[in-house]
């Protein structure tokens, strides 16, 4: 998946006011990111990449790059 599509799809899933994401964005610091957002990220990873993660795995995630590394960097292209 192209990184810019990943950022766009993730934002759409999270329905946050933020309009721009990149690898350095701190997901948990985004306004409106809450416990339901974690579930949205789990659903997103399952739907887009077929990867099932637990909330505990996602607890360790801080930045968008951390999330991409959990999914697997081989899934992404510039």
């Amino acid at each position: 998946m192209k990184k810019k599509d990943f950022y766009k799809d993730l934002l759409e899933y999270l329905e946050l006011d933020e309009t721009n994401l990149d690898e350095t964005t701190n997901l948990k610091a985004l306004e409106g990111f809450d416990s339901m957002s974690i579930l949205s990220v789990i659903a997103f990873c399952d739907e887009k990449f077929g990867k099932k993660f637990t909330a505990q795995q996602l607890n360790a995630i801080i930045t968008v790059k951390n999330l991409m590394e959990l999914i697997g960097m081989e899934e992404f292209e510039d």
């Binding site: 899933y13 329905e15 416990s35 339901m36 957002s37 974690i38 579930l39 949205s40 789990i42 659903a43 997103f44 637990t54 909330a55 505990q56 607890n59």
Partner: protein
Amino acid sequence: MKTLSNKNIVITGASSGIGREIAIEASHLGASVILIARKKEGLQATYERLKAGDHIVFSSDITNYMELEPLITKAVQKTGKISGFVHAAGIEMTMPFRNMKPDYYEKIFGINVIAGLELARIISKKNYLDESGGSFVFISSVMGKFGKEGKVAYCASKAALTSSIKAMALELSQKKIRCNAILPGVVKTSMVENMFASLPDSSVEEIIKQHPLGLGLPEDIAHIAVFLLSDKAKWITGSEIVIDGGYSAG
């Protein structure tokens, strides 16, 4: 004589959790049980814990609706007519409403609601139903009455199940069939363990705290289910019985 002697009881979701516990308890009370679930290994594990008797195991996906009547026909040929049915099969889904899709609702309603109603309809036919009537028990949930974030589909499915037993109770009373729903709070089952794994720790702690007596055990539900299946409950129909460790008291 034991309270469920001479009763043949169909139980869905019998490979684990509440369905398994009801099957075990019913067999110890003299029933012959007809177990249905998808997972063969789980069904076998349940079967091994039953008190010896004329029990049958069917590994089947209950959302293959066309296969249900042949399955019931086979069960009746082997053990005789049916006097009890428990729909304990169910799936859970924790998903923010914003991320829900139509096929998620279809999947959860297929298992939690439609398969149960379809089996009840089939079993209520005179070819399959015991002449003395029957008792149908549906394992619903308190979440069919109280909302919970991330559980729109699950709550909707359980509310549908709880409502349907009332209409069913009225229609089927002529056939001497009683229909009741049990509404458990959160019970420690493998389904709940999987759900907890998908939730943040803070949400899990909150759920546990909402049960003043702690989380339930499958046998807490099984005790009531076997009572409803027995003739001791002969004047109970159309009822929703809440067993939730105090979840709904607050």
